[in-house]
């Protein structure tokens, strides 16, 4: 069941929950694919950074020193750049101002940008779409495909002017990602549209960060930029090649696509930073077969331009009788990883049900998932505790409508869990 880790700098480790499948029925089996990126020291030199900082300057940003702290964040962020990196600075309300066109991060350029920013005061409503797109344009005009090209959008409000449809904004984010511009979003406070910012980041290949209080703005922005400077693998993905008749699906919230020519499933992970660890949980549904016959699924780790990185492997299952299947041992590490993903999905679904006032569905989802986890938990303490925590969550999601803050915090927590990131939204690093 276990693939031997590859010796290359990027490692791909595979683990399946069980090794036998039913000869006379369609079996579903679960497995995990864990990518660990090489450390930054292994690269020849750091990747060049080309970043746009896009700040909401609408009237509400004057509350609680939000804009003042955003200015501090910009100053800290610019201080992190090398002189060979590029930056641009855009502010928007219902009017867009490019305070600094894309330029190399020299001392003079930074000073000029900060001086221009110091004169900006919050005002007006929110043309988020045009502000963000203008930042993306600045990145695009100096796109360096060998480097990190990213637009960082910080807002406390909605898109209530210009392009307001969340679906369109997410689509534009996807189109720009395909063309090399990654979007990361930061939402501050209680009033922004968290699903909009989450979807823009998801489609845009970046990260969404929920900032509860204005005081956290500088740290959040600098953490994102710090990670951008530590990218060691660009546009990582996992290609899964299964034989005909075997259906493979990814359970986490990673983008995926099926190659129509080969039938391969490509799970898009995105940029990986130094020593980052990503675990994707997947399922495979098998056809029936002859006892003793084997079925294998091959995996390859890919990077930018779909180049194979060398890390790869194979998992193999064997057709067996019902009694052999029922008696086989389970790999508990996979059970726990997959159950954790389903628990996060249940909470995410309960959050959305609560948002639309459907408390009954919120409760049903949580209780149903808990019941199923208990069904295979047996004596495993972690699995039993996971099920119990879902049952306890009923009081949080299905008794009363959640506050705007609670909805945001819940969405954020589960988005991070489903993307194999820490609860605070940072890359999960393998302990060395």
């Amino acid at each position: 069941m276990t693939n031997e880790p590859n010796s290359n700098a990027l490692s791909l480790q595979l683990l399946a929950d069980r090794s036998l499948i039913r000869a006379g029925a369609h079996s579903t089996r679960y497995f995990t694919a864990t990518l660990v990126a090489p450390t930054a020291e292994r690269r020849e030199q750091p990747l060049p950074v080309n970043v746009a900082l896009v700040l909401d300057r609408s009237g509400s940003m004057s509350d609680a020193r939000k804009f003042e702290l955003a200015r501090e964040a910009v100053e800290s962020a610019l201080g992190m750049l090398r002189k060979t990196d590029r930056f641009s600075l855009v502010v928007y309300d219902d009017h867009i101002d490019v305070l600094a066109r894309s330029t190399l991060a020299t001392d003079t350029a930074r000073r000029n940008a900060l001086r221009a920013l110091a004169e900006i005061q919050p005002r007006g409503s929110t043309d988020l779409g045009a502000g963000w797109l203008t930042g993306c344009e600045q990145v695009a005009e100096h796109l360096d495909r060998s480097g990190v090209n990213r637009c960082l959008l910080l807002t406390d409000g909605l898109a209530n002017h210009g392009i307001t449809d969340p679906g369109q904004l997410a689509m534009h984010a996807r189109e720009l990602r395909v063309r090399g511009v990654v979007t990361s979003t930061f939402g501050v406070g209680a009033d922004f549209d968290e699903r909009l910012l989450r979807d823009m980041a998801h489609e845009g290949g970046g990260t969404f960060t929920f900032i509860e209080g204005a005081a956290q703005i500088p740290e959040a922005v600098t953490a994102e930029l710090g990670e951008a400077a530590e990218v060691t693998v660009r546009e990582a993905s996992i290609r899964v090649d299964a034989p005909e008749g075997v259906r493979v699906e990814v359970l986490n919230r990673f983008r995926s696509s099926t190659d129509p020519a080969t039938g391969s499933l490509v799970v898009v992970i995105g940029d990986l930073v130094s020593n980052q660890e990503i675990t994707a949980a997947l399922s495979a549904t098998f056809p029936t077969g002859e006892i003793g016959e084997q079925v294998g699924i091959r995996f390859s780790a890919l990077e930018q331009d779909h180049n194979v990185l060398g890390a790869g492997g194979k998992l193999t299952w064997t057709f067996a009788t019902h009694s052999e299947n029922d008696a086989q041992a389970r790999e508990r590490a996979v059970d726990r990883a997959v159950a954790s993903v389903f628990a996060s999905r249940a909470r995410a679904e309960a959050t959305e049900a609560n948002r639309r006032g459907d408390l009954a569905t919120a409760k049903r989802v949580l209780i149903g998932t808990a019941r199923r986890i208990k069904g295979y938990a047996a004596n495993d303490g972690e699995l039993r505790q996971l099920a119990q925590s879902l049952e306890a969550a009923v009081s949080e999601y299905s008794v009363a409508e959640m506050s705007p803050y609670a909805l945001k915090a819940s969405l954020y927590a589960h988005e991070n869990a489903l993307k194999s990131r820490t609860p605070s939204g940072r890359a999960t690093r393998r302990e060395s």
Binding site: R22, A25, H26, S27, T28, Y30, S58, G59, R123, S125, T126, G129, L133, T134, E137, A140, E141, L143, R145, S146, L158, G162, I163, D165, G167, Q168, M171, H172, R174, L176, R179, D191, H202, L251, S256, S257, D259, A261, T262, S264, T285, Q304, D305, H306, V308, V338, F342, R345, A346, E349, R355, R364, V365, G368, T369, R372, I373, G375, Y376, P404
Partner: protein, 204 residues
């Protein structure tokens, strides 16, 4: 396609072909591209390398894995590669990111109040955000035969609040977060009335 003359260093070749230098080195290592004839700082690549890179790109866009592409290329000389490229149907070049943004912003400027011609994700199913199964139905330990169902449909709900600008004079605005309670609306009306009277007194 015109005849390519001259030679390129690695960066020039990468730029012409629309790939990274690292990709080129990888392809050489994997046998998809021949090595350059010289070595070191004087290393030059020829038109044949560029044609092969372009053909590799086209074949990748056709979803062929690199192993298959290598098989297809290994018996082709430079002339054969060039003939294939010339005979291939021309592809519509994908707009760059900068051109894409300019087009979107220009359309917005032309039609600020009309919905964009780009399809909305609310109408078009997006495979990349599809979830496998409803958590309430999946991962049954003994229910191997359960059929997974689609999940994750987007539910539209009203935003929780919006900000409204109320101009009091050319240089003074009031910002209000809606919705307000009845009492707050009444207070706002009184505030606006008093503010406008104050401003008009100053103007007179």
């Amino acid at each position: 396609m015109g005849l390519i003359v001259g030679t390129f260093d690695l960066q020039e070749l990468a730029s012409q072909a629309g790939v990274t230098a690292r990709t080129i080195r990888y392809y050489i290592k994997q046998g998809l591209l021949p090595s350059a004839e010289s070595r070191g700082p004087l290393t030059r690549y020829g038109a044949g390398h560029l044609d092969r890179l372009r053909l590799i790109n086209r074949l990748k866009q056709g979803h062929l894995p690199l192993s298959e592409i290598r098989l297809r290329l290994e018996d082709l000389d430079d002339e054969a590669v060039r003939r294939i490229l010339e005979n291939a149907s021309p592809r519509k070049p994908q707009r760059s990111a900068a051109a894409y943004v300019r087009d979107v912003l220009a359309q917005r400027t032309r039609h600020p109040d009309a919905s964009s011609s780009f399809p909305s994700l609310h109408q078009v199913p997006v495979a990349s955000t599809r979830l496998v199964a409803s958590p309430s139905e999946a991962y049954g330990g003994s229910a191997d035969e359960q059929e997974n169902t689609l999940h994750g449909s987007r539910v539209k709900s009203e935003p929780r609040s919006t900000w409204e600008r109320i101009g009091l004079s050319p240089d003074i605005e009031l910002h209000v977060r809606r919705p307000l309670s009845r009492q707050q609306n009444h207070q706002l009306d009184q505030l606006l009335k008093a503010a406008r009277e104050l401003i008009s007194d100053d103007d007179s």
